[in-house]
Symmetry: C2
Subunit: 418 residues, 2 copies
C-alpha cells in the first residue's frame, strides 16, 4: 500500500502538467491526480468505482482504499456520504477491493501523466467546461476522467453530434454511404463521432475531415498510442482539428473488454447513433445496444438483403426498433434536428400507370381514364364510362381543364392539352 506515497507538490505538478487551465488550488489538483489514478485502478465501466468516487470524491475514495482497504470501513464512509449500504454492497465492495488493490501503485498513473505531458495529451475531468456532459447519462458507469488530445472546439461540438459506426469489413457500398452521409451531416452542422476502426469508422472520420467538419474518435486504449496502427496518420489528423479521447491512461493496450466499453462512450457522447453497415454479429451492434439502453435515438442504414454486411443493420431495424435511415437528412432528423419536410407525406401514393397525378382526386383519375386522346367525348358519355354522375364529371373536368389535363372541343372533351 506504500506504493502510492507522493508529496503534495509532486501531485500538483504532475496533475497540472496535463491541464489546459490551472487547478484553482492544491486540493483540486489532488482531486485531478486521484481521478487520473482511478483510471489506472479500474477497468472501464466499473460502477462501484463510479459510485465510490461520486460519493466520496476521487481523492477521498483513493485515500480510504490506500489507508484502510476494508469493505466495512468503505461502507461506513459511503453511508456517511448519504448512500445506504446493504449487505450486497459490502460484498461488492469486498470484491472491488480485491480488484483494485493489486493495481494500487503510483507507477502507472505517474507514467501516464508524464507521457501525457510530453505528448500534448490532456486530462479532462467531470465539470470541466469541455467535459462532454452527455456521457454523465451513464451514471456510475460514466468514465472517471478522459485522456484526450485535439482541438477544444471539437469537444464543444459534441453538443450537436451523431455517432456513425459500422463494420470493419465494409463494402464499397457501405463506404460510399458512410462518406456521403458524414459529409451531409457536417453540412448540417453535426460533429461526427466514431471509433477510428478500419472500414466504416475510418470512412466517416475521413469524410468529416474532408468536408472541413469536426470529428471525434474514442479509443479502447491509451491515446498516446494510436490504434489501429494503420490509422496512425488518420488519427493524427483527427487530433489536429478534431479530438481523440479515451478513459484509459497512456500506455494502456486496447482489449476486447475495453472495445465493448469504449462503444458506450461513442453512444453516450452523441445525440444519436447510426449503424451504417454491419454483419450479423458486428461489434457496431454493441454500440447500438448502448445507444438503445441510454434511450438515445438509434438508426440503421439498410442495404441489399443479399449482402452479409447489411444483415446486422436489418436485424436492428427488425428486432431492435432502429429507425430505417437512408440519407443525411433522415439522420439529422433522427438526431433531433428539425428540418423542413422535403416531401409531402399527405399525398397518398396512388400511382399505377406512371402518369403524374399527385393532387388528383379519384373522380379526376376516373374521368381521365374515360377520356380519349383523339375522339372527343360528351359529358354523359364520360359519366357512363367512368361510372360517375354527370355533376361529378363536370366538376372534375373543370379542375382538369384548369391544369391543362383536358381540352374542350365542339364534340366534347379530349384527354391532354391540344
Amino acid at each position: 500500500m506504500m506504493r502510492f506515497e507522493l508529496d503534495e507538490s509532486r501531485v500538483v505538478a504532475l496533475a497540472s502538467g496535463v491541464r489546459r487551465e490551472e487547478f484553482p488550488d492544491a486540493v483540486a489538483a489532488a482531486e485531478g491526480f486521484a481521478r487520473a489514478a482511478w483510471t489506472t485502478l479500474t477497468e472501464p465501466g466499473d460502477g462501484l468505482a463510479g459510485m465510490l468516487v461520486g460519493s466520496l470524491g476521487a481523492a477521498g475514495a483513493l485515500k480510504l482504499i490506500l489507508e484502510m482497504p476494508s469493505p466495512q470501513r468503505l461502507g461506513t464512509a459511503v453511508r456517511e456520504a448519504g448512500v445506504a449500504p446493504d449487505e450486497d454492497l459490502l460484498e461488492a465492495l469486498g470484491e472491488a477491493l480485491q480488484r483494485w488493490t493489486p493495481r494500487l501503485s503510483s507507477t502507472d498513473v505517474i507514467h501516464s501523466l508524464e507521457q501525457a505531458s510530453r505528448t500534448g495529451i490532456q486530462l479532462l475531468l467531470p465539470g470541466d467546461e469541455l467535459w462532454p456532459s452527455a456521457i454523465d447519462d451513464l451514471g456510475v458507469h460514466a468514465p472517471l476522467a478522459l485522456w484526450w488530445r485535439g482541438a477544444p472546439p471539437a469537444l464543444a461540438a459534441l453538443e450537436r453530434s451523431i455517432a456513425l459506426v459500422g463494420a470493419r469489413a465494409s463494402t464499397g457500398y457501405g463506404e460510399h454511404v458512410a462518406m456521403d452521409c458524414a459529409a451531409g451531416l457536417v453540412d448540417r452542422g453535426f460533429a461526427i463521432v466514431s471509433g477510428a476502426a478500419y472500414g466504416i469508422d475510418g470512412a466517416v472520420h475521413r469524410s468529416a475531415l474532408a468536408s472541413g467538419g469536426r470529428t471525434v474518435a474514442f479509443l479502447a486504449g491509451g491515446v498516446d498510442r494510436f490504434y489501429p496502427s494503420g490509422h496512425d496518420a488518420l488519427l493524427g489528423r483527427i487530433a489536429e482539428v478534431g479530438a481523440v479521447l479515451s478513459e484509459l491512461p497512456c500506455g494502456a493496450a486496447p482489449t476486447k473488454w475495453r472495445f465493448l466499453q469504449r462503444n458506450r462512450l461513442i453512444a453516450a457522447s452523441s445525440n444519436a447513433t447510426v449503424v451504417l453497415e454491419a454483419g450479423w454479429r458486428s461489434g457496431s451492434l454493441n454500440t447500438a445496444g448502448h445507444a438503445a439502453a441510454l434511450g438515445r435515438p438509434l438508426g440503421a442504414v439498410p442495404g441489399p438483403v443479399t449482402s452479409p454486411t447489411s444483415t446486422g443493420c436489418h436485424r436492428l431495424i427488425r428486432e431492435y426498433d432502429a429507425v430505417c435511415v437512408t440519407n443525411a437528412a433522415e439522420m439529422a432528423e433522427l438526431a433531433g434536428a428539425r428540418e423542413q419536410a422535403s416531401f409531402n407525406l399527405d399525398a397518398a401514393p396512388v400511382e399505377a400507370t406512371g402518369a403524374s397525378s399527385d393532387a388528383r382526386t379519384s373522380e379526376q383519375i376516373r374521368v381521365l381514364d374515360a377520356l380519349s386522346m383523339r375522339s372527343p367525348r360528351t359529358v354523359s358519355d364520360v359519366a357512363r364510362r367512368a361510372g360517375l354522375t354527370t355533376a361529378a364529371v363536370i366538376s372534375a373536368l373543370g379542375a382538369l381543364d384548369l391544369e391543362g389535363g383536358v381540352s374542350r372541343r365542339e364534340a366534347g372533351w379530349l384527354r391532354g392539352r391540344h
Copy 2:
C-alpha cells in the same frame, strides 16, 4: 330502362353457362345473373352498390333500380331491409342512380357471360366454396362477383397466401430477391398473389410456377383479354395451374382507377403483403396502403439506399411501420407462419475483435484479454491485469478451461489450447 328485358330461361341459361356447379334453382341463377350485371354497372369498389346488393340481394337491387330508379324508393327498400337511411344516404343514392343508370343495358352483361362461356371463364359468387372469403373484409367495398379462369386448388390455396408486389421498373437486384423469396415461400406452402405486371410481379409469378407452386393474379380488366399483352404467355400458364381473377366483366379495359382498386383485392385476398422493390411513388405502395388499411401484416424488402427503386420500400419501413423483411423465412413469419427461430436472439451482440465468444461472460472476456498466448500468467497477475478479483478469475479460468479456451502450465495460464 327496357334495355334489361330478359326472360327467366335466358337468364338461367346465361348464368349457368359460367358456373362449375349448377345453380340449385332459377332464383339462385337470377341472383348470379344479377351479380354479373352489377359488375358491369359499377366501377370497382362502389360502396353504395355493395351496401344495396348486401341488403336487398343483387337481383332485388337490380330490379328496384330498373323499375323505379328513385332515391326515395331505394331508401325505403333499404330501410325495410334493416339499414336506417339518413339524408346523406338518400343524396348518395341519388348520385349513385345517376352513375348506374347510363350503364343499365343487358348488352354488356350478356356479352360478358357469352364470352366467358366461350373461353372457359367462370363466375365466382360470394358464398361459393371457392370464394376467397378473406376479401369479405373489404365490407361494402368487396367485389360483387369475380370473373376468373384457372385451377380450383389455386383459389383454395389463398387460405395460406402472401402477396408479393413491386415496381414494374425493377432492377436485377429486385428480380433476384423476388425469384428467391417467391420460391422460398412456395417451399413453405404459400400461394403467391400478385398483379401480373411487368417487373417484380412477373418475376414472382414465374418463380412460383417454376417452383411448382400455386400463384394467383388479379387483373384490372376483363380476364378474357390478358394485360399486359407481353405477359400473355405467362398469364396463360398461371391460368393452367393457378388462377387469374378480376371483378371486371369480359371486355372491360384496364384503367388507372381499376388498377388502384385491383390492388385492394391483392391485399385483401392474402395473409400479408410484401413490397419487394418500389420507387418513391410506385403503384405497389398503393397495394401496401390497402394492406395497412385492412390491418393485414405489411412488409417491405430493403435495398441499397443508393437505388431509387428501393426508396419506396424504405419509405414504407420509415413512415408506414412496414416490417423490414429480408428473406422468405421472415416473410412467412410476417404472414403468421410460426417457424423455429433460426437464431438465438438472447445472445447479445458483443463482438468487437472478431473472435467467437457467443456464450462468454464479461469476466471470461476480460480474463482472455489479460492472458498471453506465449507467457504463462499467474491467477493474481491475471486478476490485476483484468481488474477482477482472484475468485472471479479462477471461476472464469475454470469455465474457459472446459471449453479449451485456455491451458494450464506450471508457471500459470496461457490463452488458447496448446
